[in-house]
């Protein structure tokens, strides 16, 4: 099976990975993964536990740098620029490539401060009035403004789980990222809160390149236009979501999505 048959040609990639290997000590977690993601489509990474999808997601904004034993080989570019180059400012990189985690993790500060923190350290707002604009815009884009506009100075941790997760998405948006990585953003949420996040992902599509890791295949089918299936550290198949879920090319993909895996 050639790379062409399992991979998808993306015309204007925002991020590109080429022959990426990731090791944790001696153990190889990612094996020669090459993939492109673009701005126009939401990309979902699916696969069984331990398949490497979260590990690979974390290489896209160098979150693995914080793991002492982790080693990344190969090339990953953002707008053609090597993100592992020594000249790359990791703090800037993580502003451009934001991340939303599995469990909502707002700062133990007010709703307003949760949003304002990033723009402040990156110098994105010159005055209090500017900051008010950034906070409102970010909360609106995160679909949270109407629910919190009268209590911006209440603690972020007092919100419901779903609201907290939207606050975290608002926080990621506030620093004007180009790419948003989401690592199972709904796994701690109920179905209604999940639906709100999924609707939000739909609205954010096109403005940001969005990559979402999910255990929930129905969610991948609902929110993404491109799906990549990982297994044992390999990218098994990457294709148009509707093709992956109706007519996957690879036997391993088929067995996984039809519930025949393992």
């Amino acid at each position: 099976m050639t790379q062409d048959q399992i991979n998808l040609a993306i015309a204007n990639p925002k991020m590109s990975a080429r022959d990426v290997n990731v090791f944790y000590g001696e153990k190889q977690a990612i094996k020669r993964v090459s993939i492109d993601v673009d701005m126009d489509n939401v990309t979902a990474f699916i696969g069984p536990s331990g398949c490497g999808k979260s590990t690979f997601l974390r290489t896209l904004n160098r979150m693995n740098d914080t793991v002492a034993s982790a080693r990344v080989e190969g090339e990953i570019t953002l707008d053609g620029e090597d993100i592992y180059a020594t000249s790359m400012d990791v703090v800037q990189l993580r502003a451009r490539v934001g991340m939303v985690f599995q469990k909502p993790n707002p700062f133990p500060k007010s709703i307003y401060e949760n949003i304002a923190y990033g723009p402040r350290i990156h110098g994105l707002a010159a005055s209090k009035a500017d900051m008010d604009v950034v906070v409102e815009k970010s909360l609106r884009r995160a679909g949270l403004w109407e629910e919190v506009k009268d209590r911006l100075h209440d603690s972020g941790t007092a919100l419901s789980g779903g609201q907290q997760q939207r606050l975290c998405i608002g926080r990621a948006i506030a620093v004007e990222p180009e790419v948003i990585l989401m690592d199972e953003p709904c796994s701690a949420l109920d179905p209604i809160a999940t639906a709100k996040i999924e609707e939000l992902i739909h609205e954010l599509r096109g403005r940001y390149a969005i990559v979402i890791v999910t255990h929930n295949m129905q969610q991948a089918a609902r929110v993404s236009q491109r799906t990549a299936f990982f297994h044992l550290g390999e990218l098994v198949e990457y294709g148009v979501t509707s093709d992956i879920f109706t007519n996957p090319r690879q036997e391993r993909t088929k067995d996984y999505i039809t519930g025949r895996y393992g």
Binding site: T246, T258, G259, R260
Partner: protein
């Protein structure tokens, strides 16, 4: 094919396939018995075919219910999804095939008034045989998920169409020469048309089987001048 991690899902798929096999077997028998009733002018057998259609209809309803349950509860994907959608479409087509067999059976009393077999009837049993075999084979193709066998069924539809064209011409000629038989011959024209439609429906099922098995639509077939020439 490997089993699902959730065994109950396999049981449901098996039950679905079992129901379709039974339904198809009944439709095939209905065609054969309707044709036999016509040849033998056997009114009791014809009535039996009409009665038997109720069971075919009941199985259709049962399959529809099961398919909706499977989609709602199991969220089938990929080949499983294609399988259950094909099942839903196939039963509605087999139900139509059963109706055509029933309609043929209902015409038997109207044709049997003459007490002697009309000469143009000689072609109909063979035509009915080909159509019944198409139904038989397409169900085997479904059971085996065999796209080649499905393709072979589609290719055979031309034979039924040829039969239909020649039965049509024969009947028209016969009616011109024997105006007293027009009433019975008109019924026979309908019988021929019903068989021709059964062939078309078997073809439709074959296309669904092909899609379910491969995920691709069946390549457009070459038609060598065997179009049905006269519609009723």
């Amino acid at each position: 094919m490997a089993e699902h991690t959730i065994k109950a899902f396999d049981d449901e798929i098996d039950r679905l396939r079992g129901l379709i096999a039974e339904m198809g077997g009944r439709a095939e028998a209905a065609i054969e018995n309707a044709m036999l009733a016509l040849q033998r002018q056997d009114l009791a057998l014809a009535a039996e075919v009409v009665e038997g259609d109720k069971r075919i209809d009941a199985i259709e309803a049962e399959v529809e219910k099961l398919v909706i349950e499977v989609i709602a509860l199991r969220a089938p994907m990929a080949n499983d999804l294609r399988d259950v959608i094909a099942a839903l479409k196939i039963v509605s087509v087999i139900e139509r095939i059963g109706d055509y067999a029933k309609n043929i059976a209902k015409r038997v009393p109207l044709i049997a008034t003459n007490k002697r077999l009309l000469e143009p009837m000689s072609l109909l049993p063979s035509m009915g045989q080909v159509a019944a075999e198409m139904v038989h084979d397409v169900l085997n193709a479904y059971a085996a998920r065999d796209p080649d066998l499905a393709q072979a069924v589609v290719d055979r539809d031309a034979v039924v169409d040829d039969f239909y064209n020649s039965v049509f011409r024969t009947l028209v000629t016969f009616m011109v020469e024997n105006p007293k038989t027009i009433s019975e011959c008109a019924q026979l024209l309908f019988v021929a048309k019903h068989i021709e439609r059964i062939g078309d429906h078997a073809t439709n099922v074959a296309e669904m089987v092909y899609y379910a098995a491969t995920g691709q639509t069946m390549p457009e077939r070459e038609r060598g001048g065997t179009e049905v020439q006269a519609e009723i």
